[in-house]
């Protein structure tokens, strides 16, 4: 989009208070009237130095530390780590454990995508959808609690396998949950595709072409909504995904609407694969014996987290503590795209653009507007920007 430079410039600093996310950020959007002309990011406000901390703890302790990198996708971090350590040690978790890991991974994706659907609907001013999506999300949270005893850190993994089994009764309640959620998701797809007020906020907004998505290094559902056929579960099947494959969902439109439909259709695929695994759960042990000291070597472990590719590089020096663990989370890839996409868009579109990559937004409830042109600085909260976005589009409708 074309931008115009004039003398009256406003800089919107957003953040840095996002205390619940690994990547809390401080954004600055420079605006010219209604149009954003520049954007920058500063991260690290709650950098906990986990990559350093792992070097002073043993392989078993690190599992619990790395699980806490993220509060939404805790299981996938532990899975990436376990797969890497098992590879270094030359062992492989039993098939039943691999299948249970996949069930939990997909259930985690369901809760994460439903969480996102709620947040995205809320930012668009569609609070009914937000409340329904989060009510339905409770189904999956209760199922995870039933399996593991926990809603957030299910802590299913141990090095060499999983901690708990899925009993036939539990499998029955998971199936019931999947049936309920499938019905709900189909209803939401209809809503998202046909609600005129929501379509106004999503259709043709934040359009990213395939070339742009590749150039900006976007990953996960955000990339797949732009036609980038990249999903680690399909490209490089790991663990249970070899036996129980998933189909990749892609869309070529590249706008916010496509990001909605890709995530919602991925939900349908999650329900299908969870059912398939439960019907064909391999028999056998839950764990294999793991050595305390891990053979010296390097390995790379890639998995598909709800937000995209999660990359772990592990180096062992032959002792019981790792030499180096590098974690590259999917969100770090996607921030860059927001900065690039923001330019040329309406300020009113910022909440939806930011939410489009699925960052954590419960925590960005702090915002300041600095009016450089008139020197009358006044603070804005995230809520005010959201309200501004909703009012902007309401007025636009009235004006038509």
């Amino acid at each position: 989009m074309q931008t115009q430079e004039t003398e009256k410039k406003f800089i919107f600093p957003i953040g840095p208070q996002h205390p619940a996310l690994k990547e809390p950020g401080h954004f600055e959007f420079t605006v010219d009237g209604e149009v954003v002309t520049a954007a920058t990011v500063r991260l690290g406000y709650v950098h906990r130095g986990i990559e350093k901390a792992v070097e002073t703890r043993n392989w078993v302790q690190n599992l619990y530390l790395l699980e806490r990198v993220c509060g939404i996708c805790s299981h996938i971090h532990a899975t990436a780590y376990c797969l890497g350590v098992e590879q270094l040690a030359g062992v492989s978790a039993p098939p039943r454990a691999q299948a249970i890991r996949e069930v939990i991974s997909e259930m985690e994706r369901i809760h994460s995508h439903l969480l996102w659907l709620g947040v995205a609907a809320h930012e668009a001013g569609f609070d009914t959808l937000f409340m329904y999506a989060w009510r339905d999300r409770e189904t999956i949270m209760n199922l995870l609690e039933e399996l593991s005893g926990n809603r957030v850190h299910y802590s299913a993994n141990v090095l060499g396998g999983v901690k708990f089994d899925i009993s036939p009764e539990q499998a029955a309640s998971i199936r019931k949950g999947m049936d309920f959620l499938e019905g709900r998701t189909c209803h939401y797809i209809e809503e998202v595709l046909h609600d005129p007020a929501l379509l106004e906020r999503t259709q043709g907004i934040g359009t990213t072409t395939r070339e742009q998505a590749e150039q900006w290094g976007i990953v996960g559902p955000t990339a797949r909504a732009s036609g980038v056929a990249r999903d680690i579960r399909v490209d490089a099947p790991y663990g249970g995904y070899v036996q129980f494959p998933v189909e990749m969902v892609i869309d070529t439109a590249g706008d916010l609407l496509a990001r909605f439909t890709v995530r919602l259709k991925e939900l349908l695929e999650c329900y299908r694969v969870v059912r398939t695994i439960l019907e064909n759960l391999p028999a056998g042990d839950l764990t294999v014996r793991m050595p305390r000291r891990i053979k010296a070597g390097e390995t790379i472990s890639r998995v598909e987290a709800p937000r995209g590719e999660l990359f772990y590089f592990l180096k062992s020096n032959g002792t019981d503590t790792p030499e180096r663990i590098k974690v590259r989370t999917p969100s770090i890839c996607n921030w860059e795209s927001v900065l690039k996409l923001a330019i040329g868009h309406q300020l009113a579109d910022m909440p939806m653009l930011l939410v489009g990559i699925d960052p954590c937004f419960s925590c960005s409830d702090r915002m300041v507007i600095v009016n450089r042109g008139h020197d009358n600085a006044s603070p804005w909260t995230w809520e005010q920007l959201r309200q501004y976005g909703i009012a902007f589009y309401k007025n636009a409708r009235r004006g038509q």
Binding site: R42, G44, G49, K52, W216, D235, P237, V242, T299, I300
Partner: protein, 164 residues
């Protein structure tokens, strides 16, 4: 899209590995295969830019991460790993640089999104990335002491104090 069966994945991986070897062959000081789906290509810092260019021009995969590695104080060296992925295949470009005044060239002109990775590398390992577009701090705090690079093995570690 229908998933590939393991044999198809293997076939594709072999073809991808072969093409990476062909593309990078002329720059590599050494090529190792640490796993069936991986190759490690050792380069001199001077060849890095050209090697990255050839991968980008050949449209081979995408840059997945940049890992800084402290290979020990006694070795006197640091290592930077550039991980490129395509499907199941990972090509790692390995560059060793001295601990004193370590520097690697920026690859942002070829891969714009390497920006955040390079900024992380600079502040965590004290490696200068020459010509990187924004050499400002990304993760470490404003009041973080100059010249302390937390992920180096000889970085001073303070034992955590436990509040009573």
């Amino acid at each position: 899209m229908t998933p590939l069966d393991p044999n198809q994945v293997k076939e594709r991986s072999e073809a991808l590995l072969q093409s990476a070897k062909t593309v990078l062959g002329s720059w590599a000081a050494a090529i190792a295969a640490p796993a069936p789906n991986r190759i490690d290509v050792t380069l001199t810092p001077d060849d890095l830019e050209r090697a990255v260019s050839t991968l980008v021009t050949a449209r081979w995969g995408y840059l997945a991460a940049i890992t800084g590695l402290d290979i020990g104080v006694t070795s006197g060296m640091l290592e930077v790993l550039y991980h490129f992925c395509s499907d199941a295949v990972i090509v790692t470009l390995r560059v060793q640089i001295p601990r004193e005044n370590p520097a690697v060239p920026s690859i942002c002109d070829k891969i714009p999104y390497a920006d955040l990775y390079e900024r992380e590398l600079m502040e965590m390992f004290g490696i200068t990335v020459t010509n990187t577009p924004s050499p400002t701090r990304l993760f470490v705090a404003e009041d973080w002491p100059e010249g302390v690079f937390p992920l180096r093995k000889d970085a001073p570690v303070q034992e955590p104090t436990i509040r009573a």
